[in-house]
Symmetry: C2
Subunit: 149 residues, 2 copies
DNA sequence: CCCATTATCTCGCTGAGCGAGATAATATCC
DNA sequence: GGATATTATCTCGCTCAGCGAGATAATGGG
């Protein structure tokens, strides 16, 4: 159980990155009186915002793999901390729309900014072909990791 | 807050992979009566084994960001499920060495194998320079994500 | 040999997340 | 248009992961 091909080494490297990133998330969470799940929730909500999708409570729960009770709890916590606003959807008043507060975004950037900057900086040394390769790889990894029916 | 450079897109892609991977881990966990932390623990232990490092209870706790009580609990759970063996270190009998059971490895491979295979397969289309680029990027990302003193 | 240090475990507690079911808004059918 | 089914969210009570504090046991230095 060691020294397999260079491809496997890359997969291990990718996994290590995901593990470490999880730990940084946890640090950020406890630094701001939150839990990992709350941070993951904020990330999902920002992704939705960036994609222009409506983020409802149910949608968030699905993203996080929580049931409705747990989802309500997450939203309650984030709302209590002022990181989030609940709004009843005027078009379908059963739904609750979620909006991330600007300040929460700033806190996130303050913590993860340097990390992101540093990664982006590394990419600046890459030429066109190399950048494309990285994107292609990550895209393939994303496919592999999402499509487990 | 949208459409920044292609570098940032890559970082977002990487983050998405980590998020999805976390969800797969959670699926694997509940599939085998475990929790995410237990799975992460097994991963850490296998990494240690591969690296030839002694995996002690304290070391594991540090990797997972748990305190000693929580660490004992994780180990208890994994031992109860038969995925793990505790052995007192004969050289320093305060320490407890942890060894992952072969069957746990098989379960992991059955679940994550296809996912890994598929990612590795994608790399087969890459030439030398492209593979190197991916490795270099992941290495940089790993550096960025580990070195937040 | 005593004491400080290190590694792990035990106990009691807080709170994240679950199942079950309540509530309220919307969609469907006659 | 009202009865009914469906959908979205929330409430309640419970279990158990992980924490803080402190116990226990092994090691190492003076």
């Amino acid at each position: 159980m060691s020294e397999q091909g260079p491809e496997l080494e890359i997969v291990h490297l990718l996994r290590k990155v995901t593990v470490e990133f999880g730990l940084r998330q946890a640090e950020f969470a406890s630094l701001h009186q939150m839990h990992s799940t709350d941070v993951r929730a904020l990330i999902c909500l920002l992704d939705a915002e960036r994609a222009g999708t409506d983020a409802t409570a149910g949608w968030l729960g699905a993203q996080l793999g929580l049931n409705s009770a747990g989802t309500t709890a997450v939203i309650d916590r984030l709302e209590r901390l002022g990181h989030l606003t609940r709004t009843r959807d005027p078009r379908d008043r059963r739904r609750v729309l979620l909006a991330v507060d600007e300040r929460a975004v700033e806190l996130g950037w303050a913590f993860f900014g340097p990390l992101i900057e540093s990664t982006v900086a590394a990419l600046r040394d890459f030429d066109e072909k190399e950048t494309a390769a990285v994107r292609r790889f990550l895209y393939a990894a994303h496919e592999a990791v999402t499509s487990i029916p």
